[in-house]
């Protein structure tokens, strides 16, 4: 965890950050609104986890304490009536704001949680293309999509940096492969091994984001997200996009959610000014994992 001390210059309270990054994390469950009404979900939670609390700022979503029975083992989960996910992982889909009937690309879809959330947010009406470079990882995506009974999702396996075709998507989500520093709270008491190959991953991330911008229709939306704190994998990647191709837009989140802006300089490198419109989720702010989300508008 000492690796995380490198973020002292950009985090507001280093001790609180390090303590939160090592603590167990609550999870959330969300209703498969395509198949389940609010009342039914409330009944299920009253039986399974009475201490679950609805999140006022995320529809159909409840926070489950870390010491409760794992929602992934509930019979209702097996039937596809609900899904479990880390709270902070829900924000990229909220920020992307997909609408029914649109064409949406999830460029790095595996393991498929955000893909499912995308399709449910669209009312399972539209076209969600779930892509992943590894064919074997698409099996997990299919498991989730089939379990939840979603008909708007199809899957492809292609290298996202060379995804074929022209600008044909209304929205593109790039939840890029990263060092995963923001997921330390999932390690259930064990010290996670953190990678530090930031620059190697940055090359891939830049390639993915550049291709995502090219695949988006003019006026369309691209969301770039990672579960890491490293500016090398976040703001530096955004900095690699030509300003005339895409603008980084401000993100309006509910007032209860505390975030920090993207950093405009790191270790001597200055980034384009609008990276400050991106948001950083630090674990000690909202009792979640760590995340980075940016929304770009294709010009």
């Amino acid at each position: 965890m000492d690796t995380l001390r490198r973020y002292a210059p950009i985090v507001d309270d280093l001790d609180a950050f390090l303590a939160a990054a090592a603590a167990p994390m609550p999870r959330v469950v969300w209703a498969n609104a395509v198949r389940l009404g609010d009342d039914q979900m409330a009944e299920i939670l009253a039986r399974r986890c009475p201490e679950a609390e609805p999140l006022p700022y995320l529809a159909d979503t409840w926070r489950v304490p870390p010491d409760s029975a794992r929602p992934g083992k509930w019979p209702e989960f097996a039937l596809g009536l609900l899904h479990t996910q880390e709270e902070v992982s829900l924000w990229p889909v909220v920020v992307l704001d997909p609408q029914p009937g649109e064409a949406v690309l999830d460029l790095c879809a595996a393991p498929g949680n955000k893909t499912a959330r995308l399709a449910v947010a669209m009312g399972d009406a539209g076209a969600v293309l779930a892509n992943d470079r590894k064919w074997s990882r698409l099996q997990g995506v299919q498991d989730i999509v089939a379990r939840m009974g979603l008909t708007a999702v199809m899957a492809s396996h292609a290298d996202g940096t060379q995804f074929p075709g022209q600008a044909r998507f209304d929205r593109v989500l790039v939840d890029a492969p990263c060092t995963g520093e923001g997921t330390t709270r999932k390690s259930r008491g064990q010290t996670p091994e953190l990678r530090n190959d930031y620059h190697k991953l940055q090359t891939i991330q830049k390639g993915l984001l550049r291709r995502a911008v090219e695949l988006t229709k003019p006026g369309g939306t691209i969301v770039y997200s990672t579960c890491t704190y490293a500016p090398e994998e976040n703001e530096a990647v955004l900095d690699g996009i030509y300003p005339e191709k895409a603008a980084i837009e401000p993100i309006a989140l509910p007032p209860e959610v505390t975030t920090a802006p993207g950093v405009t300089a790191w270790q001597g490198q200055a980034f384009r000014g609008d990276v400050a419109n991106a948001v950083r989720f630090w674990p000690h702010h909202n009792d979640t994992g760590g995340f980075f989300v940016a929304r770009l508008r294709r010009l």
């Binding site: 039914q40 083992k73 009974g149």
Partner: protein, 164 residues
């Protein structure tokens, strides 16, 4: 999933599938008005995809939407994921159970005396929270097609009454 096949094309015998679902389960065709069927080569599975989507041709599509049939009719029968999504629309050959019974069936227990006539073909088993999946009447018992792993994976087992 299978590798190395052709691209997905509109299923030429979609009408037969809609007719089967209507005759066997009483599912109105209007239920699927916003969907189309796709198949990748003869004798392969049939998939249900929202009408706004169309499998891309410039990238290899592994699967489009939700599997309806693993094999074409008349050998194939509806998949569990399909029935869980659309079982609510069935009016025939379906059986509604309470939640306790639903849990027993999910844990691979059987209903000793099937409340349905054994006339062959799958049945739809439904609970108050949605469809459980595909059921069969075998030797007078009602059996739910469930993954064998469910019996060990699902919690909490304490909800189940030990006597039946």
């Amino acid at each position: 999933m299978s590798r190395g096949s052709d691209v997905y094309r509109p299923y030429p015998e979609a009408e037969a599938v809609w007719t089967y679902l209507e005759e066997r389960f009483g599912m109105p065709r209007a239920t699927f008005a916003d969907h189309r069927l796709w198949q990748r080569g003869a004798h392969k599975g049939v998939w249900l995809l929202h009408a706004a989507a169309e499998p891309a041709t410039d990238v290899k599509v592994d699967w489009p939407g939700l599997a309806v049939l693993r094999q074409p009719l008349p050998r194939g029968f509806p998949t569990n994921p399909f029935l869980r999504r659309f079982g609510f629309a069935a009016t025939r050959n379906c059986y509604d159970v309470d939640w306790d019974t639903a849990l027993r069936l999910m844990y691979n227990h059987q209903l000793e005396q099937a409340p349905l006539d054994d006339r062959g073909g799958p049945y739809i088993i439904r609970s108050p929270y949605g469809t459980l999946g595909r059921g069969w009447v075998r030797h007078g018992r009602l059996v739910l097609d469930t993954p064998k792993a469910w019996a060990n994976q699902l919690l909490p087992r304490t909800e189940l009454a030990e006597t039946e």
